[in-house]
């Protein structure tokens, strides 16, 4: 198997990228009949996906206490420090944390930490390091989901190099829609870079949708218009608004495992995952 590599990107923050990434990872690995091997790459210095998937105790034991390498060490593998006089790329077995294992498959995480933000200060020559790392592990997974930071930076470039497709979570509200032209420009610039592998948008997925307020309907129409302009697909299924998402993040559970999550919302998320899987080709 060779993993499909999908970057979850939106230049706008707060659209629910990390929450959706983690929930899609669970939907496609933990649900019976969807026994995919999945790696989530936390490419955000805010490390929300790591917080969600590990909780403090596992984050402390896997990252803090053991000083285990994280995605930051992948970006700084060539940086020379007094303690690291012979820089070397981190080994996958040292960086990747197993979050859940089942008899048939697993869900892993490449965790992040706040210090990843320091890599933004000296970004030169770091764009391809994540891709080189993922090349080593792609045969272990069906899907690699990259949870990106909402900024145009070396981290975004690294995601473009590392991913072969992009999925854009969009919250159906005005400010969220403005991130789309920014993303289109960013992708265009990347694809025009000499030697850079071309990336394309596989789909836009509406996140936190209730399909109720007139403002939301207007925002969706605008997104569809922008998507048509760039020939981007918009997924028919939408991730519903649910109070169980933040509850799940606090408890470290996907939406479907939180108590009192409504069946309708679970089934909508199930449908999103199914359409997402078809779209990305797993």
């Amino acid at each position: 198997m060779t993993a499909k590599r999908v970057a979850m990107i939106n230049m706008k923050g707060g659209v629910g990228k990390s929450t959706l990434t983690v929930n899609l990872a669970y939907e496609l690995s933990a649900v019976a009949g969807r026994d995919n091997n999945i790696l989530v790459v936390d490419l955000d210095p805010q490390f929300n996906a790591s917080q969600y998937m590990l909780g403090t105790s596992r984050y402390k034991s896997h990252v803090v206490a053991t000083d285990r390498p994280t995605v930051w060490d992948i970006f700084e593998q060539r940086t020379r420090t007094p303690a690291k006089t012979r820089p070397a790329p981190p080994k996958p077995a040292d960086v990747v944390v197993n979050v859940r294992s089942w008899s048939t498959n697993k869900l892993d995480l490449l965790p992040s930490r706040l210090e990843l933000a320091w890599s933004l200060k000296q970004p030169g020559g770091k764009e391809t390091l994540l891709k080189e790392f993922l090349d080593q592990v792609e045969d272990d997974y069906d899907l690699i989901l990259i949870d990106c930071a909402p900024t145009e930076s070396v981290l975004t470039s690294a995601a473009y190099y590392a991913a072969d497709q992009i999925v854009v979570p969009v919250k159906p509200e005005f400010l969220s829609t403005i991130g789309l032209p920014l993303l289109a420009t960013s992708i265009k610039d990347h694809n025009a870079t000499r030697g850079a592998p071309k990336v394309s948008v596989t789909g836009i997925v509406f996140n936190h949708a209730s399909d109720y307020q007139p403002e939301e309907k207007l925002a969706k129409r605008e997104v569809r218009a922008v998507a048509a302009e760039y020939e981007w697909n918009v997924l028919n299924s939408e991730v519903p608004y649910s109070r169980s998402f933040p509850k799940g993040a606090r408890e470290g559970k996907p939406l479907r495992s939180t108590s009192h999550a409504r069946k309708m919302q679970k089934s909508k998320l199930y449908a999103v995952a199914a359409e997402f899987a078809r779209a990305v080709g797993i």
Binding site: Q51, G55, T56
Partner: protein, 155 residues
């Protein structure tokens, strides 16, 4: 209307269904007398028994005469935060190479016992590896704990 008032209303609705509208109407007039309510309260407070506080039953794990590694294994497996559902224990058993009966385990306790028994007669090295591999309980952490992790970052 407060939440407590709503709760009371819900209780009253249930009682109304149980005793019927006629008795309810008769009693509602009597209950408007604050003296009656006061005397009812004093009668109830005088008759309610408070259950004696029983000492908490000691956890079986501490009494279990087992090899220390087996005890750790057992303790980890009985951690409900790591294995909230029976299915989680079944998955863990399969991951550890323990045979799961075709009909599955009947209870969490049965699953834990089967896994521990499986390792009772295995070499110590294999047991130690199993102890290491078993998932640890996942304290999700509070904002304070995350703050500590974030602010203690490297200089």
């Amino acid at each position: 209307m407060t939440d407590r008032s709503l709760d009371l209303l819900a209780d009253l609705a249930r009682l109304l269904k149980r005793y019927g509208a006629a008795d309810f109407a008769r009693l509602s007039a009597m209950l408007s007398d604050p003296a009656l309510v006061g005397s009812l309260r004093s009668v109830l407070e005088g008759t309610v028994k408070i259950s004696p506080v029983r000492p908490e039953k000691e956890r079986a794990v501490e009494d279990y005469p087992l090899d220390p590694n087996l005890q750790v294994l057992r303790r980890k497996l009985t951690d409900a935060s790591a294995f909230p559902h029976l299915r989680d224990l079944v998955d863990e058993a399969q991951r550890l190479g323990v045979r799961v009966p075709p009909s599955g385990f009947k209870s969490r306790q049965a699953a834990v016992t089967s896994i521990v028994k499986h390792f009772e007669h295995r070499p110590q090295g294999e047991l130690a590896l199993a102890v290491e591999k078993v998932r640890v309980g996942d304290s999700r952490g509070s904002l304070q704990e995350w703050s500590a992790i974030i602010t203690n970052r490297r200089p």
